[in-house]
């Protein structure tokens, strides 16, 4: 018995130590990708001795929303940057898409490193209500004393001054008749909407049907485009709708791209495509007017072809979740691609936000022109 007691004591101590290590290591391993050295316990200690460790600690704090600690590990280039502005940059504000998102994981890739500074490219994977969104950011890190700090040179979010923006926009209201009215006495026809172009292509993900639709009427229309793929036997293979890849509310004479994806279906099996556009009368407003400025096709930091530009909200209403849909034309005016993307930050009145939508590399050389429309999701209107 006397011999057993020290052994039990040792076992208990070892168990406690292992439990402690297990807890701390499991906390640290959550979502860290690309850590060059495994010596640190990311998320456990505030100081970091390598740039990899520093960026990992920083991103882990962001992921866990340890804002105080994350803010303490940055070096501010602007003295006006407050912790609140720093937090807003990560969690969004004004009901933007970022407000409803969370950082799922991140990949870190070093671009450059020396004894005193380092450049890291981080691919941030966000989960959002509209699906996964990927964001690529380059972080500069600098060694200060024995510590590596993230140099924070992001522009603070725009601060819209208090102002009165006179708006004399147009609005369409819908008055429906009573059920007791005589048949035919109060009929209002559905808006007249027409598909002006259609193109079906094969892609790595499957068949894609895309084109443009125009509201030819003098009233707003809620539009949805459906496509049915018909096989060689004459039977339907699949049918899909444009879902969110269309500007649903089309004002008079407005043109919208549409895109319908058929995953895992090859066009070689398709004999015919049956198109169907449905339009219903809806109340609508012509406000806000959003300008799409400085659009240009470029190659981004990851080598992808993108159409990028800025959205400029010319009205006094906040657009919480702007959604950009772009159609790309070849030199014959044919729609060769339709691409879309959500802007993560809310578009405040009289301010602008950058956007970028991807174009497949194989098509980038063929693109002669493009047309961008903006879907507006405003919380006050929903």
């Amino acid at each position: 018995m006397k011999r057993a007691l020290p052994i039990i004591f040792v076992i208990v101590i070892a168990t406690v130590v292992l439990m402690f290590l297990g807890l701390t290591v499991s906390r640290g391993s959550n979502g860290t990708v690309g850590i060059a050295s495994g010596a640190a316990l990311p998320g456990f200690g505030a100081s970091a001795s390598t740039p990899d460790e520093a960026i990992s600690n920083f991103l882990l704090d962001i992921q866990k929303r340890n804002w105080d600690r994350a803010f303490s590990t940055i070096e501010r280039t602007s003295s006006t940057l407050t912790e609140q502005a720093f937090i807003q940059d990560w969690i969004g504000s004004s009901g933007g898409l970022r407000s409803f998102s969370s950082l799922e994981k991140y990949d870190v890739r070093p671009l450059h490193a020396s004894d005193s500074d380092a450049e890291m490219r981080v691919r941030l994977h966000w989960t959002t209500p509209v699906g996964p969104v990927e964001d690529v950011r380059d972080f500069h890190l600098a060694k200060r004393g024995e510590k590596w700090l993230v140099v924070w040179n992001e522009t603070p979010p725009p601060n819209v001054p208090a102002q009165v923006v006179p708006v004399t926009y147009l609005r369409w209201d819908l008055v429906s008749g009573n059920s007791g009215d005589q048949w035919g006495s109060h009929n209002v026809d559905a808006p007249h909407v027409r598909i002006v172009s259609m193109n079906a292509v094969d892609s790595a993900e499957g068949a894609i049907v895309m084109g443009e639709v125009v509201n030819e009427d003098t009233i707003p229309a809620f539009v949805n485009v459906n496509a049915t793929l018909i096989g060689a036997s004459g039977s339907a293979i699949d049918d899909e709708s444009s879902f969110d890849k269309i500007l649903h509310v089309l004002l008079p004479k407005q043109v919208s791209p549409y895109r319908i994806d058929f995953p895992h279906i090859s066009l070689s099996k398709v004999k015919n495509v049956r198109m169907d556009v449905k339009a219903t009368l809806v109340p609508a407003s012509s406000d806000p007017v959003i300008g799409v400025m400085n659009q240009k096709l470029e190659t981004d930091a990851q080598g992808r072809s993108v159409l990028q530009g800025e959205l400029l909200n010319q009205s006094g209403e906040t657009v919480n979740i702007p959604h950009v849909i772009a159609s790309f034309y070849d030199n014959n005016g044919k729609v060769v691609w339709v691409s879309d993307g959500y802007v993560e930050q809310a578009l405040l009145p009289q301010s602008s936000e950058p956007f970028a939508v991807e174009v497949p590399k194989s098509l980038a050389g063929k693109v002669h022109n493009f047309h961008v429309v903006v879907n507006q999701y405003s919380l006050q209107n929903s």
Partner: protein
């Protein structure tokens, strides 16, 4: 005769809900059948009283089966069976059956009464101007009991646009329906469409709207905030201003950069503000209609 008795017996049996006993009775009735004559009305009108003459004597059971109603009553043979207005509200085929040990039936038709209301469908509710055969109207007259009036009647259609004299036309109904087709007018505005049969009048309104913009022209100038572009009053080829809210897309090209603004027409003019410092080429489009190009030099 035996077939009518047979039919009547079936009706009688169905009414009573007893098959065996009534079948036996009917068999007996047919075996000893004597002629009972019914004289149905030759020109009954919906909602008007009528009478069916009978021959014979004694009491009998009278059945009346109409398009959407049926009734049963005890009657005396040899007297007229009076049908009140409420019993003949639906137009169509009626079967009168009299059973007194034996059953006899007669068929008569009730015609609709005179038109008292009218369904009037006009399409479309919005019509672009200067389009041929775009507007159509269908009139369907009904009597006061909602019976479709099949008797040919002349419907007077009248289209009246603001500032234009009415254009009446008479169309006779065929199988209870009269219809017309017409061109839309030259001017935007309300088009009153009226259909009438005697004192029954139904009115509808078609909103005649401007067609696609014609010769979309823009002008612009540099301001301290950028470029202010606006269209000249946007009109269709008939000179009608396009409705407010019509979208005009302004596009400014500056080298390889493009800026676009979808601006709504307000009081005949669409305006947009764009920021561009270098020389720009500005164009406008509305729907599938393109406008002119405007070249502006660089900001000084």
């Amino acid at each position: 005769m035996s077939s009518s008795i047979n039919t009547a017996c079936k009706i009688h049996s169905a009414w009573r809900g007893s098959t065996f006993l009534l079948g036996l009775l009917c068999f007996t009735a047919m075996a000893f059948a004597q002629d009972v004559t019914l004289h149905p009305p030759s020109a009954a009108i919906a909602g008007q009283a009528a009478a069916i003459g009978t021959e014979g004597s004694g009491s009998a059971t009278f059945y009346l089966i109409g398009p959407s109603s049926s009734m049963k009553r005890n009657v005396h043979l040899g007297r007229e069976i009076t049908l009140n207005a409420g019993e003949l509200r639906q137009s169509g085929r009626y079967v009168a059956v009299v059973c007194n040990g034996r059953c006899t039936s007669a068929v008569f038709y009730v015609s609709p009464a005179k038109p008292a209301s009218m369904i009037f469908l006009v399409h479309p509710s919005r019509a672009p101007v200067s389009q041929s055969d775009l507007i159509s109207g269908v009139a369907i007259p009904f009597d006061e009991f909602k019976n479709l009036v099949l008797t040919p009647a002349t419907v007077q259609f009248q289209l009246t646009a603001k500032g234009e004299s009415p254009a009446p036309r008479g169309v006779e109904t065929r199988d209870g329906i009269a219809w017309f087709r017409a061109n839309s007018g030259k001017s935007a505005g309300a088009l009153q469409v009226q259909a009438s049969i005697k004192d029954v009048i139904a009115r509808r309104v078609v909103q005649q709207v401007a067609s696609d913009p014609c010769s979309l022209r823009i002008k612009g100038q540099r301001t301290s905030n950028g470029i202010l572009i606006e269209t000249e009053p946007v009109r269709d080829c008939s000179g009608n201003p396009v409705p407010d809210g019509t979208i005009v897309t302004f596009t400014a090209k500056n080298g390889n950069e493009t800026s676009t603004v979808d601006a709504p027409v307000k009081q005949d003019v669409a305006r947009a503000r764009m920021a561009a410092k270098g020389p720009v080429v500005i164009s406008a489009a509305s729907g599938v209609v393109m406008g002119n190009e405007l070249h502006l030099g660089a900001q000084e």
